[in-house]
């Protein structure tokens, strides 16, 4: 078995080389750093929804848990200060535990009830983060956060190329891990549960435990994405940065890319997040330059079309291309 199939290798080769041609455009780095963060969240959701067929509408909550765990464990205003790398390790572990704790009582629920529970969990998490301001600093968010160090060298915030490659490296690790898991005993159990829960139970696959492993894996990846998002900004941001819309963005990535396809998730993240943080921002610039923008006309601000684009993306893909842009090839695992 080759380590990675050609399309995924090509993706990483292109992505790794891209900064060499892009100069120092701030917009480019902002957009691609967001794309990589959401690739991690998307890969997590792909394990839960794509491989295992469970709809999780609370991915933003796990991102938030990751961001705040990382912040509390590493920021100077708290006594722990365990540093960037241990902070990342701890975040992944706590993300998995959080997924386990939410999954344990709820994974027996049928499809759409599970979706609603995860959505409710997302709302509760947001409110708790907002209201427990003694710990979470409320709407200010926790900041500043430490920067990653490599030996004696520190990656500073303004070194955008370094952050770009660091995040890309995390995406590569996540892809390797997810593909490894997919071909493991657990991974085969995920797919079989998705295809036919009853039949796979008859074959001796424990449904609950299989779902729990998928759920914890997905949560851990989302938490990792959240921690890196916070590290990148050196702040958790306000709790509202992890609202329902973020969970839906993650869902759009997986649905548009192709459920159950790792390569699809990577492409979905480029398409959806790129739309969100590159195309819309660029359009806003042009609209401003052409003088049609401004606060006076709601239609002239491209950012105001975001919900419409997400909504149409979901409906059209489900209707016209239910397998997404890059559907998984069942015979050889995900393409």
């Amino acid at each position: 078995m080759r380590l990675l199939p050609t399309p995924i290798l090509a993706y990483f080769a292109i992505m790794a080389a891209l900064p060499l041609f892009m100069g120092t455009s701030g917009l480019f780095y902002d957009a691609f750093q967001a794309i990589f963060v959401f690739s991690l969240v998307g890969l997590g959701l792909n394990v839960v929804t794509g491989f295992t067929g469970l709809l999780n509408l609370g991915m933003a909550a796990f991102m938030a848990i990751g961001a705040y765990t990382f912040a509390i464990l590493t920021s100077d205003i708290y006594p722990f200060q365990i540093g960037f790398w241990w902070g990342i390790v701890a975040t992944v572990v706590i993300g998995a535990v959080a997924g386990f704790l939410l999954g344990a009582p709820t994974l027996g629920l049928s499809g759409d009830y599970l979706a609603i529970v995860t959505m409710g969990f997302g709302e509760i998490t947001l409110d708790v983060l907002k209201n427990l301001d003694a710990v979470t600093k409320g709407t200010q968010g926790i900041n500043p956060l430490p920067r990653p160090t490599f030996g004696s060298w520190t990656l500073e915030l303004q070194q955008e190329r370094g952050w770009y490659w660091l995040l890309l490296g995390f995406v590569l690790l996540a892809v390797l891990a997810v593909r490894r898991l997919e071909r493991s005993r657990s991974g085969r159990a995920w797919l079989s549960i998705r295809e036919d829960a009853l039949a796979s139970q008859c074959m001796g696959i424990p449904p609950k435990r299989t779902k729990m492993i998928a759920f914890s894996t997905g949560s851990a990846l989302a938490a990792l994405g959240g921690a890196l998002f916070a590290a990148l900004l050196s702040s958790t941001g306000e709790p509202a940065s992890y609202d329902f819309q973020v969970s839906i963005l993650a869902l759009c990535i997986v649905i548009v890319g192709g459920m159950g396809s790792v390569a699809g998730t990577l492409v979905g993240a480029v398409v959806m997040v790129g739309m969100n943080s590159l195309v819309l921002v660029k359009l806003a610039d042009w609209a401003g330059a052409a003088g049609v923008g401004g606060a006076s006309n709601v239609l002239a601000s491209p950012n105001n079309w975001k919900y419409l684009i997400f909504g149409l993306a979901l409906i059209l893909v489900v209707r016209l291309k239910p397998d997404g842009l890059l559907p998984p090839r069942l015979e050889g695992g995900s393409g």
Partner: protein, 319 residues
């Protein structure tokens, strides 16, 4: 006794809000009963109904509304919003759900989430209309004031500490007859019989000559219309609307439907009254900022421990 007055006040507010939630909750429960879809877009449909009502009011002129003319305006808004939301809900079913009848339930739910986002965006655009009622449409995303057509005078006398206003009367006068009418439709008419048959077993219903597509369409139409009625009384009761209110209202109503046992109409009403009371009591005796957490907490706990709801029959769960 001051605390008794205070408690009675929360009771009145809670029950009135509960009745509004109930109208929305019935829309969820009817659709779920018939095609097992959580119609995510329903709350946002309700939001658009409120925007239509405010637009109509702007077109009628924002003069001095009082007495008979105010009540006439209320009736016009109720009819228009109900018709609009009913037709829109029917159209959403046609465009976004009907092509997916044989697809997986996951696809259907995703399509509903998509529809919900589109409606939210339309609400945002709508708020940017250059009309006086939308403050010229300058700040499209800002909450909009809804004129107080129904007075806030206390019917129990000026000196009473408990407020019972014409707004509360309006809520009950609109919701109770609607619920009675709906019960009559579902239990006594041919359409109602066809709806119950389709909900029980769509294949058998089709074999018996029932045009299930028409029945499902009618369900969306009726559920949507109830949401439209709810949007008008909600706006007159709370006097402020926003393009984001559908999400909250939808979650409250959905929680109510699940609490009462999804698929059951009396359950939806009972659940909604409970949610209304929980909201008002939590606002009054705990802290407002924790109220949402409490409502969502109830939703999660009910789903975990009693997914069939308080009044629902025990559903046999598939593996």
């Amino acid at each position: 006794m001051e605390w008794v007055d205070f408690f009675l006040q929360q009771l009145i507010t809670g029950l009135s809000n509960g009745m509004i939630i109930a109208l929305i909750a019935i829309g969820y429960t009817m659709v779920y009963g018939i095609i097992e879809l959580i119609n995510f877009a329903h709350g946002d449909l309700f939001m658009l109904g409120a925007f239509l009502a405010l637009t109509l009011l702007g077109m009628l002129g924002l003069g001095d509304w009082s007495g008979a003319s105010a009540w006439a305006a209320v009736v016009i808004m109720l009819i228009a919003s109900a018709g609009f939301c009913g037709a829109l809900n029917w159209g959403i079913d046609r465009l976004a759900y009907k092509p997916l009848r044989s697809a997986s339930k996951l696809s259907l739910l995703v399509s509903a989430i998509g529809a919900s986002f589109i409606l939210v965006n339309l609400g945002l655009f709508w708020g940017g209309l250059p009309m006086d009622v939308f403050a010229g449409g300058v700040a499209a995303a800002a909450p909009k004031d809804f004129p107080a057509l129904v007075p806030n005078t206390n019917l129990l006398g000026e000196e009473s500490l408990v407020q019972f206003t014409p707004k509360d009367v309006l809520v009950w006068v609109v919701t109770v007859p609607l619920m009675i009418g709906l019960t009559w439709i579902v239990t006594r008419t041919r359409l109602g019989k066809a709806m119950r048959a389709t909900a029980q077993n769509p294949v058998a219903a089709r074999l018996m000559g029932i045009d299930t597509d028409r029945v499902i369409g009618a369900t969306f139409l009726i559920g949507g219309a109830l949401g439209g009625f709810a949007s008008v009384i909600y706006s007159l009761y709370n006097n402020t609307i926003s393009f984001q209110m559908g999400y909250r209202a939808g979650m409250d109503a959905f929680t109510a439907a699940v609490l009462g046992g999804i698929g059951s109409m009396p359950g939806a009403v009972a659940g909604a009254l409970v949610i209304g009371l929980v909201r008002s009591m939590s606002d009054a005796y705990l802290e407002t900022r924790w109220t949402n957490t409490i409502v969502f907490g109830i939703l999660v706990l009910i789903l975990i421990f009693r997914p069939s709801g308080l009044l629902g029959s025990r559903v046999k769960e598939k593996v």
